[in-house]
């Protein structure tokens, strides 16, 4: 098992180098001149060429890439063109916010997705099944940023139940220990902060998790239906077991592997969706930071953020693969 994990980790290295090359090329070959971007259209030619020199833009592209790569493996993703702050530092500061949101979304998505999926499978071809699957179909068809806006209109502006935006009410931030508000507020016993974080996270988590919960529901339903058709379920029925025990102990347990896999893969794709959700809810995470940079064409930030997110994405997917191998002994560790 350990050998398998190490091997898979080693295989990630060429993929991540490839990702860095692709992102670098996209950012450098097609973009307009960053020096002009910073100094403006009316800057003098000598100022622009001085800045180009300073940014290393006059070097051949492979030298530029090598410089970027050298720093990147030491954890330095460069500086923002405009604010001159370290991209790595900014990403790490915002990282807990994004992770907290992604986990909240996947937890909600799993609860709803598995629940609806089981109900649909058990009550196959009844009104429950149809309602569940229509909901799931609408779930995969809705733009999440739109759902976010609709949720704000209903629950924040209409009913005044939940806050419109942000991660916590101003001035209520818990003492910084890990950067994760839920953990920090619990460690310090600051329950008001915990409550405030909770009320802020509900709407963005629902919006971000909607797509995943629909996918999980469809997967759960079809896997459960597969399992229910198996001989051992018929045997369980023939033995006269309770329906509840058949559903949860015999069917669901055997349907776990594909469901867990799809949940894991969704966690990865949530990172992409976070870009949109964070924008809608002004959530101070990586996605929001990236979008700001995109709108300003701050290419070192975009490049660093994409590389950072891609790294997390492949690591999450690797983790799912390993978990899969762990759960299903039939998978060969080779």
């Amino acid at each position: 098992m350990l050998k398998y994990i190490v091997k898979r980790l080693l295989l990630l290295i060429p993929v991540l180098i490839g990702v860095s090359i692709v992102v670098f090329i996209v950012m450098h070959v097609f973009t307009s001149d960053p020096a002009t971007l910073v100094l403006g259209q009316h800057a003098k030619a000598n100022e622009i060429s001085a800045l180009r020199q300073q940014l290393g833009l006059n070097d051949p592209i492979y030298v530029q890439y090598w410089n970027f790569f050298k720093h990147a493996i030491h954890g330095d993703l460069g500086q923002s063109l405009f604010t001159k702050t370290s991209v790595t530092k900014e990403l790490l500061t915002r990282f807990p916010a994004t992770i907290e949101l992604a986990f909240a979304a996947i937890i909600l998505a799993s609860i709803f997705g598995i629940g609806i999926g089981i109900l649909s499978a058990v009550k196959k071809n009844t009104i429950f099944d149809y309602a569940g699957m229509v909901t799931a179909l609408i779930g995969v068809s809705m733009p999440i940023f739109w759902l976010g806006l609709v949720l704000i209109v209903i629950f924040s502006l209409g009913l005044h139940w939940l806050p419109v935006a942000g991660r916590i009410s101003i001035g209520m931030e818990p003492t910084h220990i890990t950067g994760f508000y839920f953990i920090d507020s619990l460690i310090t016993g600051n329950f008001e902060a915990f409550q405030s974080s909770l009320s802020h996270i509900i709407l963005p988590a629902v919006a971000l998790g909607s797509y995943s919960s629909a996918i999980i529901a469809r997967m759960t339903r079809s896997t459960m239906l597969d399992v229910v058709g198996q001989d051992y379920i018929r045997t369980a029925r023939a033995k006269g077991l309770h329906e509840k025990s058949i559903i949860f102990r015999h069917s669901l347990r055997n349907a776990t592997i594909p469901i867990v896999t799809v949940i894991g893969l969704q966690l990865g794709s949530l990172l992409g969706g976070a870009v949109l959700t964070e924008t809608v809810f002004s959530w101070p995470g990586i996605g929001n930071y990236t979008v700001d940079a995109i709108l300003k064409s701050d290419y070192p930030v975009v490049q660093g953020a994409v590389l950072f997110i891609a790294t997390i994405f492949v690591l999450v997917n690797l983790f799912v693969d390993i978990l899969y191998a762990f759960l299903d002994p039939r998978i060969k560790y080779s």
């Binding site: 733009p143 992409g272 995109i294």
Partner: protein
């Protein structure tokens, strides 16, 4: 995946006809199954309606979608303006109608773009295997390692804004999906007798791939492409929402949501209706795609 290669296509002149007949009957039987699927039919009807709106939108629009009357800005829905007015006093219904062709165009062209390039690389990888396969598929793995929307966004940052660029960005990031599906499908029939026969006769590789192999593995590709249109439409809307896609004053559903965002506190309908339009369109392609998958996958046939 269905393929029932017949050995009888050894005779060169008849062979293509036989294949065409097979393909025809396959599509006929597919159509029968599809027709019985109510959900897929609903999807197809909606898509037909949307295509109609896209083509004849000009005749259906009650107002000019680009000309606003600032005195009527943010007016609520009324008999004169069924879906209300946007921040610049333009009729939202007319803008949604106008946006139909943008979303469909980007969705369909982006998928066609990704499909053709993906098919090309996927077929080459599968047919030649070995090093060619490894190089192509490793490159596809690299692209798949970046969340697709994020890569599309990065592309837009680099390429600049606009509809053509959105098509390229959205198309490019989905190439690996098609390459993978095509590769897997081709590998499943590559060793079949009809392919061997075509080789023995002395056909060129390109003829074997495009005339003999691809028509036999179309089903999963069609399904993927149909579902791909729905995700391309969602991505277009996302780019538009972020201000990267179609530029004002042109109407595109996502950018309508993006520009309406600043006003939805007072006028929620400004973001409500474009979102409904996106959802209905994406839903229609999802319904059709799911139906096609059921119709084309013999395992699911009851």
């Amino acid at each position: 995946m269905e393929n029932n290669p017949e050995i009888n296509n050894l005779h060169l002149p008849d062979e293509i006809e036989v294949e065409l007949e097979q393909a025809e009957s396959r599509f006929k039987s597919m159509w029968y199954v599809l027709k019985a699927n109510k959900a897929a039919m609903v999807g197809l009807v909606i898509i037909t309606l949307l295509l109609f709106i896209a083509f004849f939108g000009k005749l259906l629009m009650p107002y000019n979608p680009y000309v606003g009357d600032l005195s009527k800005s943010l007016q609520a829905p009324s008999a004169a303006h069924l879906l209300g007015m946007d921040e610049q006093g333009r009729d939202i219904l007319s803008r949604i109608i106008d946006g139909t062709k943008v979303s469909l165009r980007v969705g369909i062209i982006a998928v066609a773009f990704a499909l053709s390039i993906g098919t090309f690389f996927g077929s080459i990888a599968a047919y030649y295997s070995g090093k060619v396969d490894m190089i192509i598929m490793r490159f596809m793995d690299i692209l798949l390692a970046i969340p697709s929307l994020l890569l599309a966004i990065a592309f837009m940052t680099a390429l600049g804004r606009g509809i053509d660029k959105a098509i390229i960005a959205i198309g490019f990031v989905t190439i690996p999906e098609y390459a993978r599906i095509v590769r897997a499908s081709i590998l499943s029939v590559k060793e079949s007798e009809f392919v061997q026969a075509a080789k023995v006769i002395g056909n060129r590789d390109s003829v074997i791939i495009f005339k003999h192999i691809l028509p036999n593995v179309l089903s999963p590709i069609i399904v993927r492409a149909t579902l791909g249109i729905s995700s391309a439409i969602l991505d277009t809307a996302a780019l538009g929402f972020l201000g990267l896609g179609v530029q004002p004053p042109y109407a595109e559903w996502g950018s309508m949501l993006g520009s309406g965002r600043g006003y939805f506190f007072n006028a929620p309908y400004i973001v409500l209706f474009p979102g409904i339009a996106i959802t209905i369109t994406v839903l229609a392609f999802n319904l059709l795609g799911d139906g096609l998958r059921d119709a084309l996958d013999p395992k699911l046939r009851k």
